[in-house]
Symmetry: C2
Subunit: 367 residues, 2 copies
């Protein structure tokens, strides 16, 4: 059973929960916006249902700092490195992407690496911020080891995702956001929850052998996820190396350590903004991008397939629909949100696809 | 039957052939160095045997300009776009990577995109140039359509490779260089030549169905190469999207067009240099990189495997061996080189692993 709620109402409730948890109001609003943006785009793995409870748990254990003082470690005109002071990536990264965009406006490109911050949420949120300045946005994040290197039998790298957003001449940009493993971790978690088998090439067994047939999700093999490519013959050394490159940019470049040194849910982040106008006429760039996307869409479909998609097609359509018809939340999630609000003396989530988000009142003095 | 020749002797002969073909002496030496570097690293697909004849053919048809005037199109402090004037990528890119490194020295990062240039040779040659300045080097190239998008049945993207080189505290850097398709095109060409089957996940059939069993190389399916991931379940939309991102950076960003608009062997190129010293202490960065590589090497190997490798392990060892013991060339290649030298009144290639490259005389006035 699902309940449909408006993104306005959900954003208000989540903002209030973050504020009650000690986040400054600006950060609370931003964090809520990142989570709800994921739900709007159909990326539930990084939305309210899947992440908010986890974040509150990290606050309780002290793993997460709700009021980080982000420190500039080193800076050059087009680059900067920061320490995130154990702040949540979804709170810390948007301001830093704005900084990368400022640098790109002046120098053509801006590049920022952040150590010692926590979960980044949906990476596409951050890469897409660059689109507002008609720039290409890049975001990559390294996480704790879940992925086994080619020819290995122990996890050594995170699913280390990468997102790239590129502006077009239409409203709909190109937006890629994906793990460098065969699948994102949540696909495995979801299969386990649903009692469904794991897909071909998602995991290795305890001996390191790639599981190339659908496999029961019961075995404790989620710590042996396979890199994109799955097998040596299929090019898994490429997915493995891409994960290592993300580790370099997001973990080591900002003066941090590779994630294998840390236990738990640590993250390093990498952001870049590239101004197409520094390279060519920006309108011609966006026009060519749109025609490139049309050209990909026009690929004759494989027998049995309807059409060739381009990165962001599905998420864009989902967002259009959910802005109109509301975000579906499982009733257990709504019950948990109600309970969380009750405990904190907050108004409950307004139901219905047209629920208003107005009336949200900052509960603390502004940041 | 193979003949072993020293890299010095091979470099000399190839330099002379490029000069005789009309390249300025500096460019001829650089082009020879790029081809021989590929042979030293065991990347024969991009070495003398496989590429030189093709380049000479392009010169004859006018597809390639031996004396390009590379034009700066647009510049910001940390970025630049160039038109390659139909010059060969292996001649044009090294100077532009030097420019990217200069920009990175001053601004932290340097990024350069080049339209209207030809084949880049082994991408790792260019990314590795940044290592000489203790920087991270990036190189990506877009080429003519060979790869079919997920759910499609016609090629729309090149194998669009990416290379990233990262300095370490030891002599041996991390060097990734790979196509965003399951395999590089030459693996398919080699299988056909040897009458061996194509591997699982390398190609789709004419209906767009991924061929997931070893398949005869006779069918005309080399124009339906699969993106990394091979199948939708295996994450082929990721390889497909990575190829599209390379197309954006290497083709569209420098004010060019996507490769699907062009017929033949055109290329766009993208270069970046990132200075770790702009982000953190550069020695600490290189030290952490080395320990990261040790950590990856220390992964317990899968049952039946000897060890976990890191990008550049094999190429580095091959280069050490070939510098000592010579580069093995098929005798047909040596015969072709002899014929090519005879036609141009050049001294023939000196045989033997210790053959000297000294005595190479520039045949034309300097560039």
């Amino acid at each position: 059973m699902t309940v449909r709620v408006s993104h306005h109402a959900l954003r208000r409730t989540v903002t209030q929960i973050f504020e009650a948890a000690g986040f400054p109001p600006g950060d609370a609003r931003r964090c809520a916006d990142v989570l709800v943006a994921a739900d709007l785009r159909g990326v539930e793995s990084h939305g309210v249902s899947n992440m908010l409870k986890r974040y509150l748990g990290w606050l309780e254990t002290g793993h997460l700092n709700p009021r980080p003082v982000v420190e500039l470690l080193r800076e050059k005109p087009a680059t900067a490195a920061y320490d995130g002071d154990a702040g949540l990536g979804i709170a810390v990264l948007p301001d830093l992407m704005a900084r990368a965009v400022e640098k790109a406006e002046q120098y053509g490109v801006g590049m920022i690496a952040v150590r010692n911050a926590r979960h980044s949420g949906m990476l596409a949120y951050h890469s897409m911020l660059a689109l507002e300045a008609d720039m290409i946005g890049v975001c990559a994040t390294s996480g704790g080891p879940r992925v086994v290197p080619t020819f290995g039998r122990e996890a050594r790298l995170g699913t280390n995702p990468l997102s790239v957003a590129v502006p077009t001449s239409t409203q709909r940009p190109f937006v890629f956001d994906a793990a460098t493993s065969t699948v994102a971790f949540n696909k495995i978690a979801n299969a386990r929850r649903a009692g469904e088998p794991l897909g071909s090439g998602w995991c290795a067994d305890q001996d390191g052998a790639p599981l190339m047939e659908p496999t029961s999700a019961d075995a404790p093999i989620d710590h042996l996820m396979l890199p994109l490519g799955a097998t040596p013959e299929g090019g898994s050394h490429k997915g493995y190396s891409l994960a290592a490159i993300v580790e370099v940019l997001a973990s080591i470049l900002p003066g941090g350590v590779f994630m294998g040194r840390l236990a738990g849910s640590f993250s390093g982040h990498f952001l870049a903004a590239i101004d197409p106008g520094a390279f060519t006429d920006p309108e011609e760039f966006r026009q060519e991008m749109s025609e490139f996307i049309d050209y990909l869409h026009s690929t004759p479909p494989a027998v049995g397939s309807d059409q060739v998609l381009v990165a962001n097609d599905l998420e864009w359509e989902t967002e259009r629909s959910r802005r109109e018809n509301g975000i579906p939340l499982h009733q257990e999630v709504v019950a948990w949100l109600d309970e969380t609000c009750d405990q904190r003396n907050l108004p409950r989530l307004v139901r219905g696809p047209k629920g208003s988000g107005e009336g949200a009142v900052p509960r603390r003095a502004g940041r």
